[in-house]
């Protein structure tokens, strides 16, 4: 499992990204300035965090529709707690993300309910809590916190430090531990995994907790870059994160896929947003174009079934 494989999906992700970068280079060369790229990374990081959490959940054969609203919830918690509590507030925010994921995981794992519908209900709960804490957009983030997420430390952007540390931890946790193997096992064949002694309930609780924790980190980055809280900002992230996972070639049925491909999927979606922005397209057309591009990008997945890729696969096996 841990071995890196150069799969046909890797090709598709890399090719789409290369095409988008080439287009951006033609339309707006200044995009590739250092500072601009750092800003881009800060903008993309919340989606990246949510999508990484979503990947883990989807690999176990589940799906988490509540991650978007949870992002909004932690966002408003952060915007209300960071100012008065400082470092303690930071810890509480991270804990609240973990706790929310833990609750979802317990209901799904020990309640033996379908993830899609439980997380649908939980997304309603998180949205409600977010509106309860902050009925209108507002709040603030202290200066040290904004620097911590969007600033520089010895000319190294903090956002890169956060992304690299999180990715390394995730890589170790998922590809080097028993937990990761068990998570893939219940995603690939739950019954088989249970007969082999895996407890799916415990694995699910852990997986949804990690996804909640990652979403919490994403929400903190979002709070740092926006310097305020907005209870309605979250829901849009849910399906975008699933789209990123699917673009990365991970199967929604679970058990098959890669957490790194998801980062490629996030890059595709974020570059697209930039492209639409720099092309100066009216906001009237933005939804329409994003939807069409998403369908086309996913439709490209059919390229995988072309004979040339089937041959490659056969040789590889």
């Amino acid at each position: 499992m841990s071995k890196w494989k150069w799969q046909s999906t890797t090709w598709v992700v890399v090719l789409i990204n290369a095409g988008l970068i080439a287009l951006l280079a033609v339309i707006y060369p200044a995009f590739f300035g250092y500072n601009n790229l750092v800003t881009f990374a800060v903008d993309a990081a919340p989606l990246a965090m949510v999508a990484l959490g979503q990947t883990l959940v989807i690999l176990t054969g589940g799906i988490d529709l509540s991650l978007g609203p949870l992002l909004g919830l932690v966002n408003v918690i952060a915007a209300s707690l960071l100012m008065p509590l400082n470092a303690l507030g930071l810890v509480l925010c991270l804990m609240s993300g973990l706790l929310a994921g833990f609750i979802t995981g317990v209901i799904i794992g020990f309640g033996r309910l379908q993830p899609i519908i439980v997380t649908l209900a939980m997304s309603s709960v998180w949205s409600g809590l977010a509106l309860l804490i902050m009925p209108q957009p507002g709040g603030a983030a202290p200066q040290w916190f904004i620097l911590l997420t969007t600033g520089f430390f010895a000319s190294i952007p903090m956002i890169m430090v956060i992304l690299v540390i999180t990715s390394l931890l995730l890589w170790y946790g998922f590809y080097k531990t028993r937990y990761g193997a068990h998570a893939l096992a219940i995603g690939a064949n739950e019954r088989g995994a249970i007969y082999s002694g895996v407890s799916p309930a415990r694995i699910r609780v852990l997986t949804y907790s990690i996804a909640g924790g990652l979403t919490g980190i994403g929400a903190l980055i979002l709070t740092g870059s926006a310097a305020s809280g907005d209870p309605t900002i979250g829901p849009a992230y849910t399906l975008t994160s699933i789209a990123a996972v699917v673009l990365g070639g991970t199967q929604l049925s679970g058990g098959k896929g890669s957490i790194w491909h998801t980062l490629g999927g996030v890059l595709i979606l974020e570059l697209l947003t930039q492209l639409i922005f720099y092309l100066g397209i009216s906001s009237y057309y933005q939804n329409l174009i994003e939807g069409i591009v998403l369908i086309v990008a996913l439709g490209i997945g059919i390229v995988k079934t072309l004979p040339i890729f089937k041959m490659e696969k056969r040789v590889a096996e």
Binding site: P135, I242, L294, I295
Partner: protein
């Protein structure tokens, strides 16, 4: 055989009690009783009729969703289609289309959207969850463009009568809803197409190997869902009198929740429209009750989420494997 029928006789009441359809109607009655005690006048005939009228829109959207979910898919574009139909049927009056033309054009547009969903799912092999979600974006975008941001025009008189008219105390919308319900139930339980839906929901690969025309059925099911959402959107335009963008957005998730609370498995293969009706009534009752009790939006979200989870814990749990 003997043993089976014997067990069935002995255990009849227990088996019957455990069925989701019984549980969901019991939950609905309990909820109704609860609100009737807390809120004076909630149990009056007038209010019951009002609940039924408000449920009709969600009920019709959820009918299409029931077909899709039973066949093993999901349709997240219904909210956008409801909004689109609501806006389009009024907007066509600006182009001097008469009522019949407006209604036919709107239904055709809804059918086309379902067709796009189905064809992309079948031929581009995009997962239904993502495909219908992305198409929802596209439809919202088209609605924004054709209205230039501010919907105009007026709703045909026949829709206003159907949507908001009353026959004595009985809302007229009960008639289209009842006809729709009978039609959907006939499709599900009395046609080959309906049997194929359950077959595909149980196991797509087995259905395919058994010779079920799965591509045709998949496309058909999304077309029917698109048509249902369009129908509901037009009635909603008649009810509210004015068209506005985003009116249908909540229907997406509420229709899915209504179907699942109604006893259908989100994995497909089980469920029927009778359960869905109860599921949508539960949702409308919660919303109406919360509005009367003056509970803010936040509380409404919390209660809705909690009710879904509690109901599912009561009767929607999977069997333990070991």
């Amino acid at each position: 055989m003997t043993r089976y029928s014997l067990r069935k006789n002995v255990d009849l009441f227990g088996v019957w009690m455990k069925r989701p359809i019984f549980m969901v109607y019991a939950a609905m009655l309990v909820l109704f009783a609860l609100f009737a005690v807390v809120i004076p006048g909630y149990g009056s005939l007038n209010n019951v009729m009002n609940i039924i009228r408000l449920s009709a829109f969600l009920g019709i959207v959820a009918g299409g969703q029931t077909l899709v979910i039973v066949s093993g898919g999901i349709d997240l574009s219904v909210g956008a289609i409801v909004s689109f139909a609501d806006v389009l049927v009024a907007q066509l009056a600006v182009l001097h289309a008469d009522a019949t033309t407006a209604i036919i054009v709107t239904l055709a547009a809804g059918m086309l959207m379902g067709l796009v969903n189905g064809m992309a799912i079948v031929w581009l092999k995009i997962s239904p969850l993502i495909m219908t979600f992305a198409l929802g974006f596209v439809i919202d975008g088209i609605a924004l463009i054709i209205t230039a941001g501010s919907p105009a025009g007026n709703v045909p008189q026949v829709l206003t009568t159907l949507g908001s008219g009353s026959f004595g105390i009985v809302p007229i919308i009960l008639i289209p809803w009842a006809l729709y319900g009978i039609l959907i139930s006939l499709i599900m339980h009395r046609t080959t197409f309906g049997r194929y839906l359950y077959a595909m929901g149980q196991s797509r690969s087995v259905a395919r190997m058994a010779g079920v025309p799965h591509q045709f059925v998949t496309i058909g099911v999304y077309v029917l869902s698109g048509l249902s959402a369009t129908f509901a959107g037009m009635l909603l335009a008649g009810f509210s009198g004015v068209a506005y963008l985003g009116i249908g957005t909540p229907y997406t998730l509420e229709s899915v929740a209504g179907v699942v609370i109604g006893g259908a498995s989100i994995l497909g293969g089980t469920g029927n429209y009778l359960g869905t009706i109860a599921g949508t009534l539960i949702f409308t009752m919660i919303q109406g009750g919360m509005t009367v009790l003056n509970i803010p939006q936040a509380g409404r979200y919390l209660v809705e989420g909690a009710v879904i989870i509690l109901l599912l814990l009561a009767y929607g749990r999977a069997r333990k494997i070991v």
